[in-house]
């Protein structure tokens, strides 16, 4: 579908699309394009997941887009399970899933597993990684891990107003180039930047914008070699698996959870072309 293509689309920067910042600040424009659906999502065209470190404003973004009022609080670890809602934008309907805030996807705590399983088995059409613009470096750790799992990513540089108050300048173009996915500065509390975020989500979901995600480059040579060999083996065993490299990485680490998913065929079902409803079914059963 999208993995083969390589060039970063020029509209990775939000102001490149026709509805620029000037329109975006206009409430009529916003209201005309976004329809908040609350929890009333029976059918959807795309599934969007919200991932990010704790306390980066994920729940605020979630509430802004869905019109729901999930409780938000200024402290890490507030959302421990998934919340779901929906919105309509540009004639398409989206299901939005707010994942628990985590610093990484590598440990075994329940909240990290919920987030990781959704990214892997839920196969969202777009993953929005909410990054705290005041703590870019630390937040990037999770963003890079997500980019290893999926290439359909939009980075939301949230709390940009706070970053400016702290005297930080974030160059979202540079950021977007380095990560190979669109990066949109937002201040979700006041709603700034959300129209651009919506447009970026829609572009990635529809495939209009093709990403070229950053992959780790600085592994030691021995590691790189082992990783390449194992990735090829995974690809040979399960042709079309979208995250072969990440699966290889987990296997090298000795992740029993992933080995098990490989054995019982759960991972095999994620191959491109498998029916999307199936993975939703898996997800629902897993969360039950």
């Amino acid at each position: 579908m999208h993995t083969e293509a390589s060039a970063v689309h020029p509209s990775a920067h939000p102001s490149a699309h026709p509805s620029g910042a000037a329109c975006g600040s206009c409430p009529i424009y916003h209201a005309a394009n976004l329809k908040k659906l609350g929890i009333n999502v029976d059918h959807w065209d795309y599934v969007v997941a919200l991932a990010g470190n704790p306390n980066t404003g994920k729940s605020t973004v979630f509430n802004r887009l869905t019109g729901l009022r999930q409780h938000t609080g200024n402290w890490p670890g507030k959302t421990v399970s998934r919340a779901e809602g929906g919105f309509e934008y540009g004639g398409k309907s989206y299901k939005l899933v707010d994942l628990p805030g985590t610093y990484s996807l590598l440990s075994t705590s329940l909240d990290e597993e919920v987030a990781r399983d959704f990214l892997l088995f839920g196969q969202p059409d777009v993953v929005v990684v909410v990054v705290d613009a005041t703590r870019v470096e630390r937040n990037l750790n999770l963003a890079l891990q997500v980019l290893e799992i999926t290439d359909r990513v939009v980075v939301c540089l949230n709390l940009i107003d706070e970053a400016r108050r702290h005297g930080l300048q974030v160059d979202e173009r540079q950021f977007s180039r380095d990560l190979g996915v669109p990066a949109v500065p937002t201040a979700a509390r006041s709603g700034t930047g959300l129209p651009d975020l919506l447009q970026a989500i829609s572009d990635v979901a529809s495939g209009k914008l093709v990403t070229k995600p950053h992959r780790l480059q600085n592994e030691p040579p021995a590691l790189k070699q082992a990783l390449t060999r194992l990735t090829q083996a995974v690809e040979a065993a399960l042709p079309g698996l979208p995250n072969a490299r990440w699966v290889a990485m987990r296997l090298l680490e000795g992740d029993e959870h992933i080995a098990e998913a490989l054995r019982n065929g759960e991972l095999g079902d994620l191959r491109r072309g498998a029916h999307p409803e199936q993975s939703n079914l898996v997800l629902q059963l897993k969360s039950a």
Partner: protein, 490 residues
């Protein structure tokens, strides 16, 4: 497992998938030997390296800003070794004092409306349409009055407390509290994140137990679950606030009564925190042995709270939610209380028999039969303790001139009326103090017990969570009563 493995659509046929999967796993096993055990560290290092490079290219930092300096100044103060704890106590006392002082008037107004006006009107209506006495008694005196009492006594304090608490949360203060408490948890052999689930427990223990999901070690998570009940949940404040106001506030001159009552409530909450540490420590050295694991806690920047929005959402999401739950439980409980007071066996009501049965043990631990029965009736919701106690006293002492009749829950117009009732039942300062202690240390409500079962999936740990505090509570009240009697020479 969950579905059959039958790929559909244009998937290339792969040669015997299970065989090649085993091949991949074998290769992985072999390569793991080659790469060595520090794979995780190597990957993490590569990631940190990339993150640092990308961040460095995209973010430029101007000099130190006033905002950052202000944040650091506040942090130095609220997390300081010297000032951290006093400030914490001061802040929570202020919150409780505002709640106690502010809730009186609206509580009185609501009681006047629901109980003095609507209730007689409903009775008049019932007799006009000719409802039999037992039906109107059951519906109005039991179900309606229980519900009305819960609404009038709980809504105002919650409508004040929750927004205040949410403002502190929005501002970013709670993680600092967690920071202050962290090293104490570590000393107790528990996980530092337990301070976060404990803070949630001050709102609702069931929510606090769900919040323990952030703790990844099962051992430390169980400690957090078992001890969450020592965080004084919102259903227990009405008891604490009423008893502190009537008995503790009365010990000092009127102008100090509000502050002293608030301090008494804070003292009980602080005792709960202390018990959390002591019990965590004991658990981590007996049935849940192990080392505490490290974790990093991010102190978020202070954010100016959006006051109006906070008040709105905390009233809608928390106050109404908790109130609705209380009402749901109050309805059947009110019915049960009315029935037990009106079904007579051998010359006395079922309720009287039970009170007499429990009374000797109650006295032994500085409580009484009425209180113990009230705690059994109120297992579904702690909010029901005070109304049940009042109703049972009327039954047992026969002080029917105060109440509305057998099995009728009522709200007394003033504190002095309630006080007269307590005295008629032989309550002393010891009874009041022990009731406050027992309210802190007793079994969790049925919702919390059920949540514990769902989170642990184990009957054993659920039973420990439910029973440990009851045993501790009786031990504590018995000790206090014994010392009290020795000192008082009784």
């Amino acid at each position: 497992m969950m579905k059959t493995h039958a790929p559909t659509g244009p998937v290339q046929p792969s040669p015997s998938p299970s065989a090649s999967v085993e091949g991949v796993l074998a290769l992985a096993q072999g390569l793991r030997q080659e790469v060595g055990s520090n794979f995780h560290d190597q990957i993490a290092e590569a990631m940190y390296h990339d993150a640092a490079r990308i961040a460095d290219r995209a973010v430029t930092r101007a000099g130190e800003t006033p905002q950052a300096t202000l944040d650091r100044t506040i942090d130095r103060l609220v997390t300081s070794r010297v000032w951290g704890f006093p400030l914490m106590i001061l802040l929570f006392t202020l919150v409780f004092w505002l709640t106690i002082a502010g809730a009186n008037v609206p509580s009185g107004l609501l009681a006047g409306l629901l109980i003095d006006t609507v209730y007689p009107a409903l009775h008049a209506g019932a007799s006009a349409v000719g409802l039999p006495w037992w039906l109107s008694g059951f519906l109005l005196d039991g179900v309606y009055l229980a519900t009305a009492w819960v609404v009038s006594v709980m809504l105002p304090p919650m409508a004040i407390f929750f927004p205040l608490f949410t403002l502190l949360e929005d501002f970013g203060y709670l993680p600092r509290v967690a920071f202050n408490l962290d090293h104490l948890f570590k000393k107790a052999g528990a996980h530092g994140k337990q301070s976060l689930s404990m803070m949630m427990g001050f709102g609702c223990n069931a929510a606090g137990i769900i919040a323990t999901r952030v703790i990844d070690s099962p051992r430390e998570r169980l400690i957090a679950i078992i001890t969450n009940n020592f965080a004084l949940c919102n259903g227990r404040w009405p008891t604490q606030i009423l008893i502190a106001t009537l008995f503790i506030g009365a010990l000092v001159p009127a102008h100090l009564a509000g502050v002293i009552s608030a301090l008494a409530v804070v003292g009980v909450a602080a005792l709960g925190v202390l018990l959390t540490f002591v019990v965590s420590w004991a658990l981590s050295r007996t049935i849940l042995k192990g080392e505490a694991s490290a974790f990093s806690l991010e102190l978020p920047p202070y954010r100016p709270p959006r006051i109006l929005q906070t008040i709105y959402t905390s009233i809608i999401d928390r106050t109404v939610f908790v109130l609705w739950r209380a009402v749901l439980f109050a309805i059947p409980a009110g019915a049960v209380i009315w029935l037990s007071a009106n079904i007579h066996v051998g010359g006395a009501s079922v309720a009287e028999h039970l009170v007499n049965l429990l009374h000797p043990f109650g006295l032994l631990v500085g409580l009484n039969g009425v209180i113990l029965l009230a705690y059994i009736v109120a297992i579904p919701a702690n909010e029901l303790v005070i109304p049940t106690i009042l109703m049972l006293i009327v039954l047992v002492t026969g002080a029917s001139s105060v109440g509305e009749g057998a099995g009728v829950m009522f709200e007394l117009d003033s504190g002095t009326g309630t006080m007269a009732l307590f005295h008629a039942n032989g309550w002393t300062l010891l009874t009041a103090i022990n009731l406050m202690l027992f309210s802190l240390v007793h079994n969790p409500c049925s919702t919390t017990i059920y949540t514990t079962y769902k989170e642990t999936g184990s009957l054993k740990w659920t039973a420990i969570t439910a029973l440990l505090p009851v045993v501790l509570g009786f031990g504590l009240t018995f000790a206090v009563a014994t010392v009290w009697r020795l000192v008082a020479g009784g």
